[in-house]
């Protein structure tokens, strides 16, 4: 590699990632415009569904890689502002509405009241995006999102009615957040770790945010819970 590239690799990364984002965005926009088929799924239709799902996943992976890279370089922006959680969740649900309809998944918001929280809007939206796309992928047909306010802070809980996480995946996650077990890291595990990092950047005095994965879903599948102080 030329010395120019070595010294300026930062720009190489940023330019490439922006380009990847741009092209995946266009793909997604095109997919949104393709009309949904009838209830009976043709082969073409189910190909489209997997393309749509993969594009959504790709979008999140690129964003995640980009942000982890910036975090590593100590250049990730982190700005806390007051925001309504239902607004953020609503946006994410809407963003995946076409995908949901394609795969036949309904997302229910069971929260009774909106809660204002102090958080980094861009990072939290991205975490919700990752968790929701994953829940859509593994649920049978329903995803449920709830908010819980406690004295210490707020939790967002995303449940699905799929088969739940395999035990070894839950173990691997708990090792990773202890800073162990990075070998054999899958992209999925990396995504959960990224969510955990974003949560833990949110601090208030002695409190710190966290992410918990479990099979305690109210719908009998897996549960993703993020806590923000």
């Amino acid at each position: 590699m030329s010395s120019f590239m070595k010294n300026d690799f930062h720009h190489v990364m940023i330019a490439s990632m922006n380009d990847m984002k741009q092209s995946v965005n266009l793909l997604q926009h095109t997919l949104e415009k393709i009309p949904l088929g009838d209830t009976e799924k043709s082969e073409e239709e189910s190909d489209l569904t997997s393309i749509h799902y993969e594009v959504s996943r790709m979008q999140n992976s690129i964003g995640q890689l980009h942000n982890l890279y910036l975090l590593e370089k100590n250049q990730l922006s982190f700005q806390l502002t007051d925001a309504y959680l239902l607004e953020l969740i609503e946006e994410q649900v809407i963003a995946h509405d076409v995908l949901c309809r394609r795969v036949g998944v309904t997302i229910n918001l069971v929260a009774k009241h909106d809660i204002s929280s102090y958080l980094d809007v861009n990072l939290l939206s991205h975490v919700l995006d990752i968790a929701i796309v994953n829940a859509i992928r593994y649920s049978k047909d329903t995803v449920q999102i709830d908010l819980q306010k406690t004295q210490q802070g707020t939790s967002i809980i995303i449940d699905d009615n799929g088969r739940g996480y395999p035990e070894e995946r839950l173990e691997h996650f708990s090792e990773i957040i202890k800073g162990q077990g990075f070998s054999g890291l899958t992209n999925q595990m990396l995504a959960w770790y990224y969510c955990y990092l974003v949560a833990s950047m949110h601090k208030s005095r002695e409190q710190q945010g966290w992410v918990r994965l479990s099979n305690e879903s109210a719908l009998g599948g897996s549960r993703f819970e993020i806590f923000l102080p």
Partner: protein, 557 residues
């Protein structure tokens, strides 16, 4: 209860808001992106959606039409970026008070995100987004606009009592935009100096957790009350909780400057620049601070950034080019070989750019010639320096109306550096200039005559001076004299330095067997600063020392 499911499932492509009467402008460098956003807006019912690919295009379009919505990408080719476009539209008052300006960006790098945030758009939308998301966002923004319309009007008219009433009412009724109202109240209390109300509001907010805007409110109060230590303390504690609070770095740097802690101030501002470098005023503050500290390399870097950030915007001015040229000229003196050549070439390039860009302005032609002459003088190219100086003088002869105080100051400095010291002083004294000059302009001349040397040399003299003061404090007068004299070799006419030497020599006289030599040192020092007259800030100190020496002389005779 929030019936959110029905709202979402009612279909993301349809919006509850009608945009039939609304016009929008989409700005994006890429045709594909532009088209897809345009299609979304058309589908949402906007009656008119214009598009453009450049910042210049946005400004032109906003001259022609008052849009209800502008969706502007941050990256817009080589001209202005989205942040600069917004700043310019505000300055030119080309946006309706209820227009919504959204910056769109695919970038999450911090400098870009911060730059965008600091220009305070109505919203920031990160790519990618779907039509459904855009629809929700717009619905929310227009609803917020509606709810806050009276507050925003009161804010624009600076009708603080009305704004306070409206905000307090909204907060009391637990309105959705209470946080917006609380922030508006903080600004109101700061503007009306209602310190007890401000303290009450912020302290209440801070009971449960640290909140940046509430902590900043308190810090700004201390700052306005000129309680620098308290302000410094509060800002430092904000930065502990919010290490990316860029406004706190700016404020902390200015407090430290007030306390005379220039080096620390520069370090703090450097942190702020690391976080958010794309703000021209911050870079200009850096130029001023590093100048104060004699840190010529930082001054050059910040000066070049400031120029780059205002280039192609309405805030671009020839002064920024000349600032960069002067800084580069000063920096080049300290370098050798290729580095020196590079700086000089950069300076010449900036001069050629400014004269091309402002070729119709006589004033710029004069300043360019003067700046060029100083650059050559600094390099020791006397012939070139003289040629440029003559060009400037000829231009001034042609158009005497250009002899403004600013230009005469520049001309004097240029003469001085070209070795025509007498002519310079005469010019400054003769031109009936002093009456037309502002206090700052007068001070600028004094500062220049005190120390007409490059910034790097000034910094070295300053550092020797503080070493000398240390020896003086330890009563090691011999060492102090040695170090002050070394400093004077670099900066012979600096009044403070000369007076420090004289004062030390006087102390030494008490014990020295060679009183004559010490007296001579004092007389020489006084002679070197014969330019210090009644209106100079060191005059009274000079008089006091002169009197002391005269009395001593008399007594010993």
């Amino acid at each position: 209860m929030v019936d959110i499911n029905t709202r979402i499932r009612s279909g993301p492509t349809k919006s509850s808001h009608s945009y039939a009467e609304y016009s929008a402008l989409v700005a994006d460098e890429f045709e594909n992106s532009r088209q897809s956003i345009r299609q979304m807006l058309v589908a949402l019912g906007f009656s008119l959606v214009d598009q453009t690919s450049t910042g210049k295009g946005v400004v032109e379009a906003c001259y022609a039409r008052k849009y209800d919505l502008v969706l502007c990408d941050f990256r817009l080719g080589h001209g202005k970026n989205g942040q600069q476009v917004l700043e310019e539209l505000r300055q030119l008052k080309l946006l309706k008070s209820d227009a919504i300006f959204i910056v769109v960006s695919a970038e999450t790098s911090r400098d870009v995100v911060f730059g965008i945030m600091e220009s305070h758009p109505d919203d920031y939308l990160s790519k990618p987004f779907t039509q459904g998301v855009l629809s929700k966002r717009l619905e929310r923004l227009f609803a917020q606009n509606n709810a806050l319309v009276d507050m925003k009007e009161a804010q624009a008219k600076q009708d603080f009592s009305r704004l306070q009433g409206l905000c307090e009412h909204h907060i009391a009724s637990q309105g959705r935009y209470s946080v917006w109202c609380k922030k508006a109240l903080v600004d109101t209390f700061l503007a009306t100096q209602s310190w007890s109300e401000l303290t009450r509001l912020c302290e209440q907010e801070l009971q449960e957790r640290d909140i940046e805007w509430a902590m900043l409110g308190m810090a700004k109060m201390h700052l306005l009350q000129e309680e620098w230590d308290l302000a410094i303390q509060s800002l430092e504690s904000i930065l502990k909780s919010f290490p990316q609070s860029v406004e706190s770095y700016d404020l902390l740097a200015s407090c430290l400057q007030k306390k005379g802690r220039y080096h620390k101030a520069q370090q703090v501002l450097e942190e702020g620049i690391k976080l958010s470098p794309l703000v021209a005023s911050r870079q200009q503050n850096m130029v001023n601070l590093s100048r104060e500290n004699g840190d010529i390399q930082s001054a050059v870097k910040a000066g070049q950034q400031a120029l780059k950030l205002t280039m192609n915007t309405i805030n671009e001015s020839p002064e920024e080019y000349f600032q960069v040229v002067d800084l580069l000229a000063d920096a080049a003196v300290d370098l050798e070989g290729r580095d020196r050549k590079k700086m000089t070439d950069d300076a010449l390039l900036a001069l050629s750019k400014v004269s091309k860009k402002y070729s119709d302005l006589h004033e710029v032609r004069v300043k360019k010639a003067l700046s060029e002459s100083r650059l050559y003088s600094a390099q020791g190219h006397n012939k070139h320096a003289q040629a440029s100086l003559s060009t400037a003088q000829a231009l001034l002869k042609e158009s005497p109306e250009l002899k403004t105080p600013d230009i005469v100051i520049e001309l004097g400095k240029t003469l001085f550096l070209a070795g025509q010291k007498g002519e310079a002083i005469q010019l400054w004294q003769s031109d009936n200039l002093l009456s037309d000059m502002s206090a700052e302009q007068e001070q600028a001349i004094f500062d220049f005559i005190d120390e007409p040397i490059p910034m790097g040399a000034r910094a070295r003299a300053k550092s020797l001076n503080s070493q000398g003061l240390n020896f003086y404090a330890k009563k090691d007068y011999d060492e102090a004299i040695r170090v002050f004299e070394a400093a004077l070799e670099i900066s012979p006419n600096q009044p403070g330095l000369n007076l420090n030497l004289a004062q030390t020599a006087i102390k030494k006289m008490a014990t020295s067997p060679n009183k004559r030599a010490m007296l001579a040192k004092c007389q020489e020092a006084f002679a070197r600063i014969s330019h210090v007259k009644e209106n100079h800030k060191q005059f009274s100190r000079l008089q006091a020392l002169k009197n002391y020496v005269a009395k001593y002389h008399q007594d010993s005779v």
